[in-house]
Symmetry: C2
Subunit: 327 residues, 2 copies
């Protein structure tokens, strides 16, 4: 706004600031606040700056985020850890039963093998796939960044698409039996896996959780007792990249940065945008200026002053563009 006021022209639209300080502790009170003040907060669009861009010459509008469901699978076998010499061979091993169950949840081409899992996945449009190709990061750079021997993902999509526009099934942790030095000859009494599934538009956390639960019950061998404990969930988010608001934001980015803007999807989740949508029925435009080396949530976290200045320039262009688009 400050930047716009320097143009010495009247603001072309009303601006309301919602300042929230609880994002890192779960945003417990934001939804209640939005609900209680929905009349006063009514608006055409919401601007959130909590996303990134490839570099200063490549400003980006993030138009989609992934959602999430988290759960823990436990398989229980014998009443206690058993001596593997005395009983091994006549009793199923819960760690093996868990491995065999998990192995069936993703095929060798990286596709999640849970019936109805992909039912609500919105396909990528030709326009979106073209935009993905414009992103200035090569598969080789990505591979170097993560330090893997070879990239791996669902066939038919590029790594940049796989990590943001496709759902994913990740084992976050495995725990069973003995974990110390050397060996211990036991059949563990139980084995468990922590899982998070990233969702994409238009998947729904509750529908996917139900499909997962059904399929796990079906896969559980008769030798084990299964428990599935669900944790937090979050909806995926999408603003139409070809809609008037998104196109206005792209024009503002181009004018502010002096470079063509990029459309981006992010693989993580920003739960407040779902709250804005639910209570104010308005879309959020994710116009973040973070650079890949900003180290968010890490030692030496920074924010580039150059990116800050460019962001201000962009915002001076944003209000008239949005005002024109909303007319």
């Amino acid at each position: 706004m400050e930047a716009y006021l320097k143009t010495n022209t009247e603001l072309p639209c009303d601006l309301t600031f919602v300042i929230e300080g609880e994002e890192e502790v779960g945003s417990e009170h934001l939804a209640k606040f939005l609900k209680a003040n929905r009349a006063e907060l009514q608006c055409e669009a919401i601007i959130v700056s909590d996303t990134g861009m490839p570099d200063k010459d490549h400003p980006a509008l993030t138009y989609a985020l992934r959602g999430i469901i988290a759960f823990e699978i436990t398989l229980r076998g014998p009443a206690r850890d058993l001596h593997s010499g005395i009983f091994g061979g006549a009793v199923d091993n819960p760690a093996m039963a868990l491995s065999q169950l998990l192995a069936k949840l993703r095929d060798k081409n990286g596709r999640i093998a849970i019936p109805h899992f992909y039912d609500d996945v919105k396909p990528l449009s030709a326009y979106e796939r073209k935009e993905f190709k414009r992103l200035p990061i090569t598969d080789r750079e990505l591979q170097k960044m993560v330090g893997v021997k070879k990239m791996f993902g669902e066939r038919g999509w590029t790594p940049m698409e796989q990590r943001s526009a496709r759902p994913t099934f990740e084992i976050n942790g495995l725990t069973s039996g003995y974990q110390g030095e050397g060996s211990k000859t036991i059949i563990p009494a139980w084995a468990s896996a922590k899982i998070t599934i990233r969702l994409v538009p238009d998947q729904h956390p509750k529908r996917v959780a139900a499909a997962v639960k059904r399929h796990l019950a079906k896969l559980c061998p008769p030798t084990a007792r299964l428990t599935v404990k669900f944790g937090h969930g979050g909806e995926p988010y999408l603003v139409s990249p070809t809609g008037a608001l998104a196109q206005a934001a792209l024009r503002a980015l181009k004018s502010g940065f002096g470079h063509e803007a990029f459309l981006a999807r992010e693989g993580g989740s920003i739960p407040i945008v779902s709250a804005f949508k639910r209570h104010l029925h308005a879309d959020s435009l994710l116009l973040g200026m973070a650079l890949p080396d900003d180290n968010p949530h890490s030692p030496n976290e920074k924010f580039s002053l150059d990116a800050y200045a460019l962001g201000m320039r962009m915002s001076a262009h944003l209000w008239p563009e949005l005002a024109a688009a909303s007319r």
Copy 2:
């Protein structure tokens, strides 16, 4: 011997006592002692009392033990734990890769799926299988003892055969990623499994280890780096159950206990019997008097005085039986 001396007849054979106090700490010096004193220790048979019997009315000769190999498999993927929202979908998950690798090592019928794994497994004779059927323990009792929902094992063998006369592949522990409360949205950098394989006559620890290593290298996906770290190994053991020595021992058991004796295989390992065989070229007769509720290595460990007395009676019959058999 004490019991025999009470018969007031001359000992029908020479007896040498080898007393070892290192069994629980790896028997480090026994093999060296046997090697150094092999001339003086030369004998026709060795008697070891370190096995059990179903109950006091069912004395048993243990004629076979399983061997063991222990190792740890580790699959490494990315250079560090990755954010599963930012990278999930474009990078293989080492915990999933490990689950899929382990899942392929045992089929759904309980058979170990490693090429050449069963090459040296000596089949059970009709006589041995008949002896197994005589053992006074039902599958239902065994299931209650271990507390599983359903027994599981290689098809075509009974649970008693599976747990002692067939090799087994056991995951003793699984470790990967986050193991605390709640969830952590990461792709773990690595995942590992501790494994022990129980071997049966005539499998050889080194040959089986080589087959395992070859097969794991073949199964490892191109997205992961595999390491396999081998630990201790032990050979399986077998005395012919129809040989003169074993039959002599069975007769002595019957005379001492007043009940028909049983032939038994044990699923665990007693490494010293291989050392006796290697250095003295003599078979060990495993004539133990432990009862199933003796709690070995546990609180309230006991040894039944009745079993002790019956064992002494048995030994008075054993020396003449063995002397006659060795003639």
